[in-house]
C-alpha cells in the first residue's frame, strides 16, 4: 500500500489533472469522458455505477466527498469482487487516517491524505491494521473467521 500526500497529488503542468502513479504520470478522466481503451486512469465519484469495462483502467480513484460517506467502500468492494478490477485503487478526497483500515479491507491499495490530516505518530497502532483479525470476510481476506480460525478456545 502507498500513502501519498496532497502535495504530490495534482500536477500544475498540464490541463488534465495528473496523479502520481508508480514512476510515471497518468491522465485521469471522469467516467463521462473516460474511454476504456485509452489507457487513462478513471476518476470515479462514490455514486458512479461500476461496469466490467472498468477493469481496463490501470488506475481508479474514488473520491470521498466526506469521510463519513460509506458509498465509496461499497463501490470499491464491487470493483474488486464483481468486476475483477486488479489495477491500483486509490482513495482520494476527504480521506480520514482513522478509516484507512476499512478502506484497505474494501480493496483500496493507495490513499491520498489531505494535508491537514496526518497519520498518528509511529508509536501508535498501525493505521492500516489496528486489529489482529476480524470476524467477517473482506476483499483482502475472502474467508470469514468461522471458516479459517478454530473458535471456542
Amino acid at each position: 500500500m502507498r500513502l501519498l500526500t496532497e502535495a504530490t497529488e495534482w500536477s500544475d503542468e498540464t490541463a488534465e489533472p495528473m496523479i502520481e502513479q508508480g514512476s510515471g504520470s497518468m491522465v485521469m478522466q471522469p467516467l463521462s469522458e473516460w474511454v476504456p481503451e485509452s489507457g487513462n486512469g478513471l476518476a470515479l465519484e462514490v455514486d458512479d455505477e461500476p461496469t466490467s469495462q472498468f477493469c481496463q483502467a490501470p488506475l481508479i480513484t474514488i473520491n470521498f466527498p466526506v469521510f463519513t460517506d460509506g458509498r465509496g467502500l461499497s463501490l470499491a468492494v464491487l470493483l474488486r469482487t464483481r468486476y475483477d478490477f486488479t489495477g491500483e485503487l486509490r482513495a482520494v478526497g476527504d480521506v480520514h487516517q482513522d478509516l484507512l483500515h476499512y478502506m484497505r479491507r474494501c480493496g483500496f491499495d493507495s490513499y491520498v491524505l489531505p494535508e491537514h490530516r496526518q497519520l498518528p505518530a509511529a508509536d501508535n497502532r498501525q493505521p492500516f491494521s489496528p486489529y489482529t483479525d476480524y470476524y467477517q470476510a473482506s476483499v483482502i481476506q475472502p474467508e470469514p473467521a468461522f471458516r479459517r480460525v478454530p473458535r471456542g478456545a
Binding site: 463519513t68 458509498r71 468492494v77 497502532r125 489482529t132 476480524y134 470469514p144 473467521a145
Partner: protein, 555 residues
C-alpha cells in the same frame, strides 16, 4: 449464554486500546472535534445536554450476574451510582468523564462486554425477545442467530459508515415481544416442517418522525444464507439510501421511495452474486453458536401450585405481582420474573448500583446466573423456581423492584427526555412521574388491565410513543413544552399486528396531561365490555368518543 473465546477477547481488547489512542489524540488536539465525534459514537460515547453519555451494549439483552456486578461497579466508580436501562436493552451511564471512558471500556472488556457500535450510523446492537430461551410460546431461541449477527456486524469493513443508524430485531415466539416490525430489519425465526431453521425478513420499519410498519420482502430463507442476504440488503441501502437529509436517510425512506417490490428485486439481484459465497454459514458454525444457548441444568420440579396459591391468598399484593410480573416458563416448576423499575419518583429504567448487585445475587440464588434487560426497561430473571417466588418478591420489595405493574399503565416506557437529552423538545420523566402519582391506586390499575403507555420527549421516538396504546409526544410550541397524545398504537404482541397510534387532536400543556389521560381512561371504563383490554376496546369504538371527551370542555 454466549461465552467469549480468545478471538473475541483479543478483538475487544484491541478495540479498547485503539479507542484509547484516539481519545488521547483528541485530547492532545490532534483530532478535530467533528472527526473524533464519529469515532467516539462508534464506541458508545454520545454527548448529551449535561454530560457525555456512554451506552454499553448488552447483546440481545442477555447478561451474566458477574457482568451486571461490573456494571454496578462502573456506576459507583465512574458515574453517580446509577445507570439507565434503555428501550434497546442496553445500559447507559449519564455522567462519565470523556477522558475516563477508555478505562470504563477496559473494565467492560474484562467481563467480555463492550460499547462498540451502540451509537453512530452503523449496525447497532441486535435486539430480541427478553424471554428468549424460556418463554412458553417460543418456537426457537433466537439468540444464537443474534450472536452470529453481532459478530458479523462488528467493525464490518463495508457497513460501518451507513447513511443512518441501523437496527435489527429478531423474534422466535408466537408473540412478538421484540417489536420487530418497527425496525430497519425485522426477523422472524422458526423451524419449517422438516425442522430446518428459517427466517422471514421484513425491512423498512421504524418510528421516529416518519413511523412505518416494515414490509416483508422474503419468507423461508434457510439459515445458511442469513449473512449473505443481510449483506445484500445492507449493500443496496449503503449505496442508495439518501445522505443529503438525515431525516430521510433511514432505510424506510428508501424502501418507500423504491416500493417494497422493487427494493426486493434489487436485493435479490445483489444476493445472486453473494449467495453460496464464503460468508455462507457452515453447519459447524451454526452448531457452535447454538451450543452456547442450550438450556441450563434445570431440576426436576413438580407442578404443585398449592403453596403458591396459599401465598397469593395470604397477600393480595403478592397475588397482583404474580399475576402481572410472573410469566409462563417452558420448564415445569419454573417461572420468568420481571422486576419492574417503574416506581413513581424514579425515572423509568434508572437503577442504582445496589439494585444491580441485588439483581445479580438473585440471578445466582434463584436461577443460573443469567439476567435479561427488556425493551420495556425492566430486569428479567429467566429461571426462577416457582417455590422461590415468595422469597424473591419479599427481597425485591426491599429494593423497590417489586412494583406489580408489568403490562399495566404504570409500566411506562419513557426516554430520558429534556432533563438529559439535547435532542428533546420537552421533558418526559416528570410526565411519567405525574401520571404514576395521579393513577397510583393499585386496584384501579389492575382493574384497567393491560395498557401500554409510552412517552417520547421528541419525534425521534426513543420512548416508542407511536406504538403505545396511549402515546405521548413532547413538542415545542414557541419555546413552550406541549404534549401530543395518540391512541391505538401497538407493538405487535398479544396476538395483534403492530399498528401506529392516531393523534387525538391539538396538543396540551404539561399541567393538563394527567387530566387528559384521566378522561381517556374514563371513556374506556364506561365503554369497555367485561375484561376487554384497552387496545381491543379502542379498535372496537374508534377514536371519536375519546376526542369528544377530551375536547368537550374546551368548546
Amino acid at each position: 449464554m454466549y461465552r467469549y473465546d480468545t478471538f473475541d477477547r483479543r478483538f475487544v481488547s484491541e478495540r479498547v486500546e485503539h479507542y484509547r489512542a484516539q481519545t488521547q489524540r483528541y485530547l492532545a488536539g490532534e483530532l478535530a472535534e467533528d472527526e473524533f465525534l464519529q469515532l467516539r459514537l462508534r464506541n458508545g460515547l454520545y454527548v448529551q445536554r449535561l454530560a457525555p453519555m456512554l451506552r454499553v451494549a448488552v447483546p440481545y439483552g442477555t447478561l451474566s450476574s458477574d457482568q451486571l456486578r461490573t456494571l454496578a461497579h462502573i456506576a459507583r466508580d465512574f458515574d453517580r451510582g446509577y445507570g439507565h436501562l434503555s428501550t434497546r436493552q442496553n445500559v447507559q451511564y449519564n455522567w462519565p468523564e470523556l477522558a475516563e471512558v477508555p478505562d470504563i471500556l477496559q473494565a467492560l472488556a474484562e467481563v467480555d462486554m463492550h460499547a462498540i457500535q451502540t451509537s453512530g450510523n452503523c449496525i447497532r446492537n441486535v435486539t430480541t425477545d427478553e424471554f428468549a430461551g424460556v418463554a412458553a410460546d417460543e418456537t426457537i431461541d433466537p439468540r444464537p442467530y443474534c450472536e452470529l449477527m453481532r459478530q458479523w456486524s462488528t467493525a464490518h469493513p463495508e457497513f460501518d459508515w451507513l447513511p443512518r443508524k441501523f437496527k435489527i430485531a429478531v423474534s422466535g415466539a408466537a408473540t412478538d415481544r421484540a417489536a420487530t416490525l418497527v425496525h430497519d430489519i425485522g426477523l422472524k425465526v422458526y423451524r419449517d416442517k422438516q425442522g430446518a431453521v428459517q427466517f422471514d425478513f421484513s425491512v423498512g420499519g421504524g418510528l421516529g418522525r416518519t413511523p412505518v410498519i416494515a414490509e416483508t420482502i422474503r419468507t423461508g430463507l434457510d439459515i445458511e444464507h442469513l449473512l449473505t442476504y443481510l449483506e445484500a440488503i445492507m449493500r443496496v441501502y449503503n449505496r442508495y439510501g439518501r445522505r443529503d437529509n438525515k431525516y430521510k436517510a433511514r432505510i424506510k425512506i428508501l424502501v418507500r421511495a423504491m416500493g417494497a417490490a422493487s427494493f426486493r428485486e434489487q436485493v435479490d439481484a445483489e444476493w445472486a452474486h453473494l449467495k453460496d459465497g464464503p460468508s455462507t454459514l457452515t453447519d459447524e458454525e451454526i452448531a457452535r453458536m447454538e451450543s452456547h444457548f442450550v438450556p441450563p441444568a434445570y431440576h426436576e420440579l413438580t407442578e404443585d401450585l398449592s403453596a403458591l396459591g396459599a401465598q397469593r391468598l395470604s397477600s393480595p399484593e403478592f397475588g397482583r405481582w404474580v399475576a402481572q410480573n410472573v410469566s409462563a416458563h417452558k420448564q415445569t416448576g419454573y417461572a420468568v420474573v420481571t422486576l419492574s423499575t417503574k416506581v413513581a419518583g424514579i425515572p423509568p429504567g434508572d437503577v442504582t448500583d445496589l439494585q444491580m448487585e441485588a439483581v445479580a445475587d438473585w440471578a445466582d440464588r434463584f436461577g443460573f446466573g443469567e439476567i435479561r434487560i427488556s425493551h420495556e426497561q425492566n430486569f428479567v430473571l429467566p429461571d426462577v423456581p416457582i417455590a422461590s417466588l415468595w422469597e424473591l418478591w419479599q427481597e425485591a420489595q426491599a429494593q423497590e423492584l417489586a412494583e406489580s405493574n408489568v403490562g399495566l399503565l404504570g409500566n411506562i416506557i419513557c426516554c430520558p427526555g429534556g432533563d438529559y437529552c439535547s435532542l428533546a423538545n420537552a421533558k418526559s420523566i416528570p410526565v411519567a412521574e405525574a401520571i404514576q402519582r395521579e393513577i397510583a391506586d393499585a386496584d384501579y390499575l389492575h382493574d384497567l388491565g393491560p395498557i401500554d403507555l409510552n412517552i417520547s420527549g421528541c419525534m425521534n421516538a426513543c420512548g416508542h410513543h407511536h406504538v403505545g396504546n396511549i402515546g405521548i409526544l413532547g413538542v415545542d410550541k414557541k419555546g413552550q413544552e406541549f404534549y401530543q397524545i395518540s391512541l391505538g398504537g401497538h407493538s405487535g404482541h398479544s396476538g395483534l399486528d403492530a399498528s401506529l397510534g392516531q393523534i387525538v387532536g391539538p396538543s396540551c400543556s404539561r399541567a393538563d396531561v394527567t387530566s387528559v389521560i384521566g378522561k381517556i381512561l374514563d371513556v374506556f371504563v364506561e365503554q369497555r365490555q367485561p375484561e376487554e383490554a384497552f387496545i381491543h376496546c379502542f379498535k372496537r369504538i374508534g377514536i371519536e368518543p375519546f376526542k369528544e371527551r377530551i375536547y368537550a370542555s374546551a368548546d
